[in-house]
Symmetry: C4
Subunit: 196 residues, 4 copies
């Protein structure tokens, strides 16, 4: 199977997730700067989730440049990833509406963790479809960031029991780590060309 | 007519349907795990409808790989399918808000059934446009699953009058049956190559 | 300029318009069939607007198969059309919430009329960009349906002052007239091939 | 990296932003023309933001016709632009709900300004990826409109402290200035052909 329609569908879902979160942004009650200040938490959690979805889109984009064929398992691993990402608007809004209470912070972290694991499952499904010696397996290499992220999410989830802001620091740290783009794929493409 | 724009439009509609359902997910009133537990039904019905839309997208994707040309009848058979699928967020939310009351469970089943019949009409419209001897007709074969599904939906609708959970078991069983990907198309493509 | 991105953007906007209308569907208060019956008007107006957006998408699709190049004027004529179509969820919901009161019925008709005129402006802009002798001008011919539709909308708007259901009959009649697909384009393509 | 998926994702996000704003349009309470008149401000601010998103889409479309390759920095500069644009529904609705109060007018202007600066950053990122002698750098030239716009936004923001309508005049003036399409790109393409 070609990858183009999987990419188009994923682009559509990710574009919608990243955009409908703005519908959940609480608009200020009044018309003053102080009223707007009351939306600051909303704004920051929106920014964090926007960056996360942007990271997944960017990595997804990089990754599928090296994928030549997909099978049913890859389709469903991809839908599985999209499922967890589709919950970001829900967990983000809950965290925001409860003013960053402990349980919602933990649930948000669990959502981040589940999406990271789903991404890992997708990588495995692609590896299996592509075969162990394909350009994909070679380019993805040891995938250090992919293995460190779940640990940092777990640390964030644990630290939510100490202090809410500490959990957010961990979650933001993972985002910052990924903002450095995934040079593996770009380097591989520069050297070997695209998959198709 | 080329199929590319029909595929792109369908991808767009399905991506939106699958994603806006999360806007209907009831967020917990409070900030505790017990509050989140109150959203469990929402969560499960969301998951069920997410999987259904994913199945339709996946089958749609497989099917159109073997379609070479479409006509006006196929365009409208496809829009007819999208219409019934677009009601999933509505029937899902009603079922969820009424705590799985009987009538909403029946209506959800009728919606599932209507979409299955619309899919069958789409298959017929494509067969007519492609001609009886095309690769599409050959690959789709006897279409056992497509013929069993409506019977299972009817069984689910009927069983809603006995017990709500039984209806859900039937609906989930159909989804599980389809999660096994449609090997007919993949096998055909592997042997004969793509349509275009 | 290539037409592919204009088509992709239009597909996206039309897919969203056709799908978000379901978010405006009023869900029944209770869990009985009578409660659902109270949503019948919502359901019918949703269906009508769904069919209208489907018609515009289908005609847009047919039309752009014969367009080889677009310029800035075509881009903006297309955005102008999308603007009026983007108001369908608004005018549909108002008509529905007021139980088909006269003014909302008239406003809905004006919206339909404005979209039809915007479509006509788009056709003119394409004709100018394509030149008078291109395949597009030849295929679109005298465009009888395009010229009859505004008259029927006007008749519907006028008849709303007599009886609401009469206006709806006119609006539905135009939709029915367009459901017969636009054979001009298909016939032209069958004879001459696609534009690119 | 190819530009096609960046374009498709941006098309998706812009299509959603331009369309979900209609969900924020306040529907009239009653069923009369006077009731509809109460939505006039909503309608005008919706139109203004619709035109702005249309302008960004049109310029984005023109620009990427001359871009041959993108890197991680361009991806993120593009996401950064989409972030500011995604706030338009929020700032538009706040401005509208407060009946064009001063602070929301200023905040809307700041949002417009931030998007304009983000667009400029995107242009710089593309220039760097393309190299100083590519067709893109040549076609974009001195970019007078891109440099005048921020000044007009600042003037609008400042004038909001004098009178709300004056700020809107400035904001509308920038939109009008951009409605004249970006002939640089079209002229360049006409002379030299597309980038790929």
């Amino acid at each position: 199977m070609r990858t183009s329609r999987l990419e188009a569908f994923s682009d559509g879902v990710l574009a919608i997730i990243i955009t409908i979160m703005v519908l959940e942004l609480h608009r200020p009650e009044g018309a003053t700067l102080e009223d707007l200040g009351g939306s600051a938490t909303s704004f920051l959690t929106y920014l964090l989730s926007f960056v996360y979805i942007g990271i997944y889109w960017s990595n997804h984009h990089h990754m599928f440049q090296l994928v030549r064929r997909v099978d049913g398992a890859v389709l469903w691993a991809n839908l599985h990833l999209l499922f967890w990402l589709s919950l970001y608007p829900f967990t983000t809004a809950w965290m925001d509406e409860t003013d960053l209470a402990r349980t919602p912070l933990v649930v948000y972290g669990v959502n981040l963790l589940a999406a990271a694991l789903a991404y890992y499952v997708l990588v495995l499904a692609i590896k299996r479809a592509e075969g162990p010696d394909g350009p994909f397996a070679e380019a993805i290499g040891r995938d250090v960031k992919g293995k460190v992220s779940p640990l940092l999410y777990l640390a964030g989830i644990g630290s939510a029991f100490l202090a809410g802001w500490l959990a957010l620091v961990f979650y933001a740290a993972v985002a910052a780590m990924w903002l450095v783009p995934d040079r593996r794929m770009e380097a591989y493409v520069a050297e070997h060309g695209l998959a198709d």
